[in-house]
Symmetry: C2
Subunit: 325 residues, 2 copies
């Protein structure tokens, strides 16, 4: 009896990616030693072809995105990556599995090295449906120090990392909702390959009262974080940082600012920082090489956050964020 | 702006199941304190409707199976359950989500209580394909003590828990491959609701040199464990424990013994135990209330394990186990 196709596939493609804790993927399980005086942060994000990415996207980009959306969550919690497990459902109908898998695993390999996050284990199954990639990622924070979504307090300042809306505009481009223009490659790349802000983790750990990663649109995610913290917020929309490419995408065709502010796929960080910590946070972010921009402040109360235009007009959004249901 | 359907769904159905480490599922992540002098055992198994279960199976049984196949892996590693995360892909086409989800969550709730394994977090997404449930489960073992698949050594005795083949015969019944008979309900139930052998974990930790759970058929999984350990084995097929219902299923219609020995869905434990530990292992298993049966022994060498009939004839199996590819 020869070994099964499943074992061959794991041995050929995935075992070379496993770190020592993955035990060469020869066991049913991985094991990691508990780090004294630390908490393990656990996050899980699943991506489905045709929902979260295009089936024809480059396989290495699909792998990178599946891992990075999880690393983005770890970054927002102030955590250092420790490893991940991968559940992969491969369509039974797909021919040329091997080339696809080789590229997918090359994408994983590059990110495992870049982010020092080992493959620990997983499961590979067949499906009559679309490709699905589900990753559970692990990070470490000093005991009791995970930066919570529930930590924002009245008077804290609200910051975002990077620029907002690039991913959503990149997706709009993919969907053909606008003509190509100078800078569109940048937006497409931001949609295809998000950059987890792991280098901001230490600054968040040291100075933020609360944080989350922005994956479903700034407006909706900010509302979610304020609700979870039992507070409200005032946001200055003119302060929200936009890339040159996003501004170049501005035109009459689409409510492009709505797309930028309520579309998903930013994978930037939203953080609340007590005023006394603001200077230190800005300085730590600068040292980490991550741009952070103050966009508003937390206010007491349970009301919906208020978003104001540069002339002070209150702006209402029909749809704050992406939802599956 | 109201909260999204996704948040409502999580708040209504899943948040009530979350333990304190799940932070009410209000955060992007869970966190668990590292247990001093322990390793965290991590296992991941994904189930797809139409592949691993029937779409029309009771939702509470689907939930129970998805969790229990992971708990079965933890049991084989000698681990005590600590918690799990759940990635759930719900078909966009499915109507009556709410009733389905209520039943699914009731199945989870009952098992969370029965096995003391908290829901820590997860992700809920929509899919144009079939329902998929991917669970990553966590357990604890004393540092360095995880029972490995690679630990079998020559002269160790091989044991299995419970009875072998009930799940595979239950599946054959579901597929209409035989007529119903007395005892068929038992086999169907064994297929639908596997029983993770968590009560055997301590005995494995104390006495076994190696172990794995039997999920893809005894013949194939035993071959896999011997290969991972760099050894071979001699197995006495007449010693393999079969339930009364499995024997009642015996007939002329099917090679029923082949189904029992090479079909999947046992979720029993295969363990290698050094001869000097055998009496203590048997006694510990008895105290734990789990039947264990000696079915053969480990031998030196790299050859395929040898399976002998009661008259000493060597039996060859066409197909040792289930494989997705």
């Amino acid at each position: 009896m020869t070994s099964s196709g499943e074992d061959n596939l794991i041995g050929r493609f995935f075992a070379p990616l496993a770190g020592p804790d993955g035990l060469g993927l020869k066991d049913d399980a991985a094991r990691i030693a508990c780090a004294p005086a630390h908490d393990l942060v656990i996050t899980c994000d699943a991506l489905v072809a045709g929902v979260h990415f295009f089936p024809e996207d480059p396989p290495d980009a699909i792998a990178a995105k599946a891992l990075r959306v999880n690393l983005s969550d770890l970054a927002a919690k102030g955590a250092r990556p420790r490893g991940f497990v991968l559940a992969l459902a491969l369509p039974v109908s797909s021919s040329g599995h091997e080339d696809w898998l080789a590229s997918f695993c090359e994408g994983l390999r590059a990110d495992i090295a870049a982010y020092d996050c080992a493959l620990l284990g997983g499961d590979t199954v067949s499906t009559p449906g679309p490709l699905m990639v589900s990753i559970t990622a692990f990070g470490l924070v000093p005991s009791g120090c995970m930066v919570a979504r529930t930590g924002a307090r009245a008077d804290d300042l609200l910051y975002v990392s990077g620029t907002i809306g690039d991913g959503a505009l990149g997706l709009a481009l993919c969907l053909g909702k606008r003509q190509p223009f100078g800078g569109c490659e940048y937006l497409l790349e931001r949609y295809l390959r998000p950059q987890p802000r792991l280098s901001l983790a230490a600054a968040l750990l040291d100075h933020a009262s609360g944080a989350m990663d922005i994956s479903d649109g700034l407006v909706g995610d900010l509302t979610k974080m304020m609700r979870a913290s039992g507070v409200s917020a005032e946001v200055d929309l003119a302060a929200v940082p936009l890339s040159h490419a996003a501004m170049a995408a501005g035109g009459a065709l689409l409510p492009w600012r709505d797309v930028a502010l309520t579309g998903g796929d930013d994978y930037e960080i939203l953080a609340s920082v007590p005023p006394a910590q603001a200077a230190a946070f800005e300085s730590a972010a600068q040292q980490a090489g991550v741009a952070v921009t103050r966009i508003g402040r937390v206010v007491a109360g349970q009301g919906e956050p208020v978003f104001r235009d540069k002339d002070g007009t209150v702006v209402k959004f029909q749809r704050g964020s992406f939802s599956h249901f």
